[in-house]
């Protein structure tokens, strides 16, 4: 691996980033690896990809993948605004955002909700570890109620659920995964890249330095012991043939994506969750919260919501590359506007 060329003639190494400065074993590093792998497998044009992030250990990670893509490491909690602007300026870009639970759930909750409401086209990854890693282990808004940490004491506040927040804000794509489940992360990432609109991926990504105790629902041991995938997910790119027939009917759901690819969901949960039903998705999450279940998989998808560039009825070409003539009306136009205003005929 790493030497086979993909459809656009690139090597896996072409998708790498600079060496990670995160802690050894940090969940964020494994997610970076999956992003590299998926971008390579999907033959994404690196120059069309932009990497956006807020501030935090998680938000540092865009420096550690896709060196050949432009990146913008922004402000704490404010990456959604940058994404809104960048994807509007150039609708051809493929945006991937990396945030943390503090970044998205604490300081950034408002921007997160409104980005979703606008359906900004972006693969939005929350590397969720229940703590502020970079500032050394305070509780974030997703920390478990009653949890105890060395410096931070006991967390007295109930956690917010990133996926539930996204759903009530009318998200068009919501998934949850676990950094320890590389395959699922990969397949969900592929689906997310094929989605048009905001694809929220809430990935539990253990902080090995500050929050990897077994008792934490954000730890490797907990995740490994408790993950309950909803589906067995296989992404089938547009250029591959799909063959639902191979699978048992009724058990496998094929979701067609905007780009013509398919996500094959072999349902594993007892209730056979239908990810196109929002009420079911909300119910699923609320029940999981109540019963302390670590549900992963594709939770919701709506392919009908239009994206922000569509809502803005933008021309097809990127705004950023429109020629001068198309963005500065001619001299006569100004004259005409002036004429309407000028005194006195």
């Amino acid at each position: 691996m790493g030497n086979r060329l993909n459809l656009i003639g690139l090597d896996r190494n072409d998708y790498k980033g600079r060496p990670s400065t995160l802690c050894l074993g940090c969940g964020h590093n494994s997610i970076s690896s999956q992003i590299i792998q998926v971008a390579y497998e999907l033959s994404l044009d690196p120059h069309r990809v932009i990497k956006l992030s807020g501030i935090g250990c998680s938000s540092k990670s865009p420096a550690y993948f896709l060196n050949r893509s432009h990146g913008f490491n922004g402000l704490h909690g404010r990456m959604p605004a940058l994404a809104t602007g960048a994807t509007t300026a150039n609708r051809d870009l493929i945006a991937v955002g990396v945030s943390g639970d503090g970044d998205t759930g604490s300081i950034g909750l408002g921007q997160f909700s409104h980005m979703i409401r606008r359906n900004v086209p972006i693969v939005y990854i929350v590397e969720n570890n229940g703590v502020y890693g970079l500032t050394k282990g305070q509780f974030s808004a997703t920390a478990d109620l009653g949890q105890e940490l060395k410096y931070a004491g006991v967390n007295e506040l109930p956690p917010i659920d990133i996926c539930l927040e996204a759903l009530v804000d009318n998200a068009s794509f919501v998934a949850r995964s676990f950094a320890g489940d590389a395959k699922q992360v990969r397949e969900l990432l592929k689906a997310a890249f094929s989605h048009q609109g905001t694809a929220v991926l809430d990935i539990i990504s253990p902080c090995v330095t500050f929050n990897n105790h077994e008792s934490s629902t954000k730890s490797y041991p907990y995740g490994k012991a408790h993950e309950e995938p909803l589906q067995d997910i296989t992404y089938i790119p547009v250029y591959d043939e799909i063959s639902i027939e191979e699978h048992e009917p009724g058990v496998v759901q094929a979701v067609e994506m905007h780009d013509g690819s398919h996500v094959m969901l072999k349902k594993l949960d007892p209730n056979k969750h239908d990810p196109t039903d929002r009420l079911a998705a909300i119910t699923l999450l609320e029940e999981a919260r109540r019963d302390n279940l670590f549900i992963t998989g594709l939770i919701y998808i709506d392919r009908n919501r239009r994206t922000l560039p569509e809502l803005c009825r933008l021309v097809d070409e990127p705004l950023a590359s429109l020629s001068d003539e198309r963005i500065r009306p001619p001299r006569e136009t100004l004259q005409a506007v002036m004429n309407k205003l000028i005194c006195c005929d």
Binding site: H70, A89, I342, C343
Partner: protein
């Protein structure tokens, strides 16, 4: 009125010549009563008669029910500054009438609805009661519109009293209603009825008259927000992100309209721009920075509270060197302050926005022509300097109508600054994002989407080296900050320079900027009449440059006139030119209203005579 008093007034008036094209009308109404139509029609009609006018709307932060004042200054000499006094009062707000009438000078005129049945207890003014209710009654205006159209009554009465051409009023209403015949006719019907009533019933007992001149031929009337919006449209703006806030909102309204009309792709009917109303000002500035980074010409409009919220992002843009324009229409602060009143209180705020050692270029339009020009030029400067450009307008400029020459088409092609294409990269073999190749502090950038394996770089608000790699090395930090200072010095030469009116041998200078200009222009004439000649430098931008230093050096005393409490630009001048600091005299005043020549003339004379 007793006979004695009446004859006192008589003699007052008889003594006076007719006063033609040199007075001020004050229309006192209630917010939400729809008087803007009548008021702007009045303004426009006089303007169309060739007579210089200026209008100021002094309104409350309220939707309906609180007092509002609109002044129409008629000035044959072309003065457009605010004046405190008024000669003709149209009293349409019962709550403020007593006070409004009290402020009339002897010889003044008061129009009021006769159904108020007020006591006409000032003998030294002329009262003209108007049968507002009666005329409305007699009209066929639908009941639900009556209250709005009521204002046409004073327009009609004024037309007769002042000799305003009804055709011009008709034209002005036509303009206002965009040709909608029904509305025009309904309103014009009442104007005519009132004018006729006045002709038949009012004996003119005051000296004020409008007479045709030719001083507005070829000129236009527009508000600064619209002018700025139009400028941005011709500057090739592509992404607008905003959050509503008075007094900037109408700039976005204008952008929406102009962009739709002038920038819809004729082939596809699609938009060559995006206007996005986001959730707050942090979102707005973040969006334009994201857009500017990705290559858009991006702008947001806001005011003081919004600027405060933009602080952190302003620092990010400064340090990552992303172009974008922040158009801030100043209102009165601190805090929410007086949201519907004007000031120049955010100059230091804009200049220093962000934490750490940040500085931003700030453009300071004085009039709507400059608002238009800075509308496009700010976008050019942002791309050229790869930094935020602030344009500091104010409520007075932004929301009032101003006379102007037609705007000049940009005299240079769009400047997109130092952007490397894939071909450039191929030729160069790569680039270093923050390397000062040209020695002007401005480095080369690439846009996301550039199809070249070496196009990408990583923008970050953290310390970085020339290659945009993360760095905490003291040398890298220092070198980068030194380069940013170099870039800021380049900006000194690129931003619009001051406008100087200077003659030799005059020891007294005045420095002003923005809308304070109107006040200074008129004050200088008054001072000259009083024997005091002054030179004048009008700043059009920050950072300051040598022209300003030279001006300071050439004068013994320089008055710095500004509409804020702390004398912010005076302070900046002191910081920049410490060796000349003692020559500066700060004349700062802020109470929510534009500065007046009366005030300025007095404070200067006080010190000079």
């Amino acid at each position: 009125m007793s006979d004695v008093e009446a004859s006192a007034l008589e003699s007052l008036l008889v003594e006076r010549e007719p006063i033609i094209n040199d007075f001020q009308i004050m229309i006192a109404t209630v917010n939400g009563s729809g008087s803007q139509t009548a008021n702007t029609a009045l303004l426009r009609s006089i303007f169309r008669m060739g007579v210089p006018v200026s209008g100021k709307n002094i309104f409350p932060s309220n939707i309906q029910g609180l007092p509002t004042w609109f002044t129409v200054r008629v000035s044959k000499d072309g003065y457009i500054a605010r004046r405190e006094d008024y000669h003709i009062l149209v009293a349409m707000n019962r709550d403020t009438a007593t006070e409004d009438i009290r402020k009339l000078p002897p010889g003044g005129v008061c129009l009021y609805p006769q159904e108020w049945k007020i006591r006409e207890d000032r003998a030294d003014i002329v009262y003209y009661p108007m049968p507002v209710a009666e005329l409305l009654e007699a009209s066929d205006v639908p009941a639900n519109l009556k209250s709005y159209v009521a204002n046409m009554v004073y327009l009609g009465v004024l037309a007769t009293l002042l000799d305003i051409d009804l055709d011009e009023i008709a034209f002005s209403l036509d303009f206002h209603f965009g040709g909608k015949a029904k509305a025009i006719n309904m309103n014009m019907g009442l104007v005519k009825a009132a004018a006729e009533w006045a002709l038949d019933n009012l004996a003119k007992r005051d000296p004020y008259k409008v007479a045709r001149m030719d001083k507005t031929q070829g000129m236009l009337l527009l508000d600064g927000n619209s002018a700025g919006a139009l400028g941005a449209v011709f500057g090739g703006v592509t992404v607008v992100a905003w959050y509503p806030i008075t007094p900037s909102t109408s700039m976005i309204d204008a952008l929406n309209e102009y962009l739709r009309d002038l920038r819809t792709d004729p082939a596809t009917g699609k938009a060559t721009y995006a206007v996005i109303q986001v959730e707050d000002e942090i979102g707005a500035i973040g969006t334009v920075i994201g857009a500017g980074w990705a290559g858009a010409r991006a702008i947001t409009a806001t005011s003081g509270p919004g600027m405060s919220l933009m602080s952190e992002f302003a620092g990010l843009a400064y340090f990552t060197e992303v172009p974008a324009v922040i158009w801030s229409v100043q209102r009165v602060g601190p805090s929410t302050g007086l949201p519907t009143r004007t000031s120049q209180g955010d100059v230091l705020k804009a200049y220093f926005l962000g934490h750490g050692d940040t500085k931003h270029p700030v453009l300071l339009p004085s009039n709507i022509e400059e608002a238009f020009e800075f509308g496009w030029r700010a976008l050019d400067l942002a791309d050229r300097l790869q930094t935020l450009i602030f344009v500091l307008s104010d409520l007075d400029l932004g929301m009032n109508l101003w006379m102007s020459k037609p705007f000049t088409y940009p005299d240079q092609p769009l400047d997109r600054g130092k952007v490397l294409s894939a071909e450039d990269l191929e030729r160069l073999g790569g680039f270093a994002r923050y390397r000062d190749v040209d020695g002007d502090g401005i480095t080369y950038r690439t846009l996301p989407g550039t199809d070249h394996p070496r196009a990408a770089y990583f923008a970050r608000g953290t310390g970085h080296d020339e290659n945009a790699f993360y760095s905490e090395r003291p040398e890298d930090w220092e070198a980068n900050m030194a380069r940013l200072t170099r870039k800021f010095n380049t900006a000194r030469q690129l931003v619009p320079g001051p406008v100087v009116d200077q003659a030799d041998g005059i020891p007294v200078g005045i420095i002003a900027y923005g809308t304070t200009d109107a006040c200074v222009v008129e004050s200088r004439d008054r001072l000259r009449e009083r024997g005091l000649k002054t030179n004048y430098l009008r700043l059009r931008a920050l950072p300051l440059n040598e022209t300003t230093r030279d001006f300071l050096a050439a004068h013994e005393r320089v008055y710095v006139v500004e509409n804020n409490t702390d004398g912010q630009v005076a302070n900046l001048l002191r910081m920049e030119f410490p060796d000349l600091a003692t020559r500066l005299i700060s004349l700062a005043h802020a109470d929510g209203l534009p500065l007046t020549p009366r005030w300025l003339t007095a404070v200067i004379l006080e010190q000079e005579l």
